[in-house]
Every structure is written in C-alpha cells, then in structure tokens.
Amino acid sequence: MADSVIDVATFENLKTTAGADFVRELVETFLSEAPRMLDELRSALAASDAERFRRTAHSLKSNSNTFGALKLGAMAKGLELGGLAAAREADGRAIAQLASEYARVAQALSELKRA
C-alpha cells in the first residue's frame, strides 16, 4: 500500500543519506506539521489571503517531495500555481482531495517509519 503513495526509492535514498533514525524523527515532524498546513490552507482560503495560501501550498509541496509523496506534492503544486481560484473550483473540493491524499501519505509514512 505504501508503494502507491510514497515513492520508495526517494524515501530509501533519504534514509541512506540522512540516517534512518533521523528520518524517523523527520517523519514525525512532518506528521505534526502537515495537519497545521492543511488548516492554514483552509483559513487562507476563507480569508482570501492569496499570499499565505500560495506560501503554504509551496511548503507542503516541498515537504511532500522530500519524502517521495509525489502525488501529494503534485497536488500541492497545483494549488501553489493555481492559487485561490484553483482551490475554489468544484466547490472547494481541491483541499478535501488534498486532505484525503495526505491521510494516505500519513498512513504510508507511519508504516515505512516502523519498517
């Protein structure tokens, strides 16, 4: 299951270069930061704060790619480039989709972390 959401090669490479113990801590940091980023996206959207929205999407994209969560990264990039308008398309489903992809990523990372 982990394979489909996380690019294992990227993740393994990260472990090799930074060390498995360190990556475990880094995953924990991401898992505690990412929900805050999702909240930030929602509140920036509600406040029509385009700059904050773009910056948060940018941050989430960057972290996703670090762990090999390529699909999540691509979705975040779509929001970074598309901005508030992209998030408002289809009744704001974009953020909900992003959140459910994140849930899968969180699950996969938790499994990989224990491996």
Binding site: T17, A18, G19, E33, R55, H58, S62, T66
Partner: protein, 351 residues
C-alpha cells in the same frame, strides 16, 4: 558532529518550514560543518549581524521577510555583502531563480536538495569565500582599513577627487647617525615599535597613514572618508605621538639605548586625493600645495626647534580644550613664493 575536511565552517540555514530546516541542518552536519537555523529572513539577519557565518543557505518563500528581501539587505550591508548565499528553494518559474542570482546569490539549488550536490556546492562556495577573505586580508595588510573599505565600496579607479583635509608629515630626527650607531636588527625593531605607536595615535584620531618611507610617514585626515575637525584631530594626534615617543624614550633609556625625537609638520586645505600609479600597482595618496606645505613645515621643525609646526588654517581649526600655540610669524619656506604664517604647538617634551 563529525570532523570535517574544511575544519568545520559555520553555516546558517534559513527556512520557515521545520522539516526543511531539520533536513538541511542534518545534511550539513554530516558534512562536518557547524550549523545554526533561523525560521525567517528577519531572524536570519539578526543572527548574521550578531555572529559570524561562512555561508548562508537561504529559502525564498518565508513569512515576515522573504529570501529576496534578505538578499537585498545583504547587498546593502558592508559587513555582510560578501557572505556567500546559496538559495535552496522549490520556486516555480525561471524568472524567480534568475532574480536570486541577480540579487547576488551565488548558487541556486532546487528542493528537495540532493545531498551530494549540496555538498559540492557548499565546498565550492566556501573555497571561493576563503580566497576572497585571503585577498581582503592582503589589501588590509598593505593598505589602511579606510582605504580597503573605500576600495571595496567604490572599486579601484586611478584618479583623484578634490577634498578638504589635513596632511601630516612626521619623521625621526637625526635618524642616519642613529642607524649607523646600532645593528640593523635594532633599527628594524625600533622602527616597528615607532610605527606601531604612530599608527595608533594617528588612527585613534581618525587619520590614515598613507605612506611610510624609511623613518618618515605621511598621514591624511579627512580622506578617503570625510572627517569633521580634521585640523584639530591632526594636531591632537601629533601631541599624542610626541607623548608616545616620550614614553618610548623612557624604555629606551632603561635599556641603555638611544632616545629618539620626531618632527611633525601639519597643513590644512584643499587637496586631490585618490589612487596614483598604474592599474597593476597603485597607492592611495593626496597631492597639492597643502601636502607640499606640510612636508616643508616638517623639514622646518629642525630650523625652528619646535617638534610640531602647523599652518594658519590648521591653527584656525583648533577646538576646545585649548592647545597652547606660539605664533612664529611669517616664515619664508622653501618652495613658497610668499612667506607663510607658521605656528608652533607647545609640547611638554623637550625637542
């Protein structure tokens, strides 16, 4: 932290994202460098102004102060503008990357950063910085701090500009018989001590020593950087020089060595200051009548029997606390068509 091949440079990582910050710091530590982290540009600048770093790894997208603003501030900061910056970001758009480089970033690395590439870029940047530091150190050793800064700020061009300032000439009286009476090692030793004392007195009053030759030196007050009360500053520097020589002579006498005496000539007015020479070898100097007069006054101290002689503009420039001055009246100076008003500054030391 591991031992590094660079002996551990000190790097600053700036990123608002905690995961990025931790990962970059980790990679850098594994290379054997020391690392500090800041979560936005404002915090980074505060750190940079407080502590010394060899390299900055800068994110662009940040709240409060972004990376572009940091690059702009660094470029304006004399102390920090040579700090190498590697931008690590996942910016979209080539124009943003170009903007980083235009603003002075040395390199750009796309996030997620490849550790091998990061290591190579950091190595290159640190090596470049080491060479630049070496070059700056050389300039500093062979020029004064002010001239070095002037060079850094304005770059090097031959040619001068008109400035208002004060020039001082000073040399050791009866130096030739002194040299003949002692070993060359003793003479070098004496000259080094003498120059250290004179440099301290002159720079302590805002002047720069622009030339040293044998036992003589030329100092300028008011160039390359403007100085208010340059005439007053020069006279007070001269008084301190005489006082220092007095103290030095106490040591010399105690060691059974020869005492020395100096003569100082000071003139104020307009002069042309700048770099003369060739593009390969040049020196910062001042030329003009004011310079010639200061040199003549220094020579005239031998005739007048006073240690410090100044011209009328310098005399008029003196400020409180009062300095005791004796007017010597108009004096015919070699190289001057008209007699010149000369003033002797009273010193406690015997000349």
């Amino acid at each position: 932290m591991r031992e590094g091949s660079h002996g551990g440079a000190r790097l600053l990582v700036v990123d608002d994202n905690k995961v990025n910050r931790l990962l970059l710091s980790r990679n850098i530590e594994l290379m054997g460098h020391r690392v500090a982290a800041a979560e936005n540009g404002r915090v980074a600048l505060e750190l940079l102004r407080r502590e010394a770093f060899d390299l900055l790894l800068l994110d662009i997208e940040m709240p409060e102060m972004d990376g572009f603003q940091v690059l702009e501030q660094l470029a304006r900061d004399l102390q920090l503008r040579d700090l190498p910056v590697i931008v690590t970001s996942s910016l979209e758009g080539l124009d943003n990357i170009v903007r980083c480089i235009e603003l002075g970033a040395e390199d750009y690395l796309q996030k997620p950063v490849n550790p091998a590439l990061l290591k190579a870029r950091i190595g290159t940047s640190l090596e470049k910085k080491r060479l630049r530091d070496q070059q700056k150190e050389l300039v500093r050793r062979f020029a004064t701090r002010e001239v070095a800064e002037d060079l850094q700020q304005s770059g090097f061009t031959l040619g001068g500009k008109r400035v208002s300032g004060t020039v001082m000439f000073s040399d050791i009286r009866d130096f030739t018989p002194l040299v003949e009476s002692q070993s060359p090692e003793d003479t070098i030793d004496l000259l080094n001590t003498y120059y250290t004392l004179m440099f301290n007195a002159i720079s302590g009053h805002g002047g720069i020593v622009s030339e040293i030759a044998g036992d003589g030196l030329m100092a300028v007050f008011g160039a390359p950087l403007p100085l208010t009360d340059h005439g007053d500053a020069a006279v007070r520097a001269a008084l301190e020089m005489i006082e220092m020589i007095g103290l030095f002579n106490v040591d010399q006498a105690a060691a059974g060595k020869t005492k020395i005496r100096i003569g100082v000539g000071i003139a104020s007015g307009e002069m042309v200051a700048g770099y003369t020479g060739t593009n390969e070898r040049a020196t910062y100097t001042c030329i003009g009548d004011t310079v010639n007069l200061a040199s003549r006054l220094e020579q005239y101290t031998k005739v007048a029997g006073h240690a410090i002689l100044v011209d009328a503009p310098t005399h008029a420039a003196l400020r409180a606390p009062p300095i005791e001055i004796q007017a010597l009246g108009p004096v015919t100076i070699r190289g001057k068509a008209q007699p010149v008003e000369v003033f002797a500054v009273s010193t406690r030391e015997s000349v």
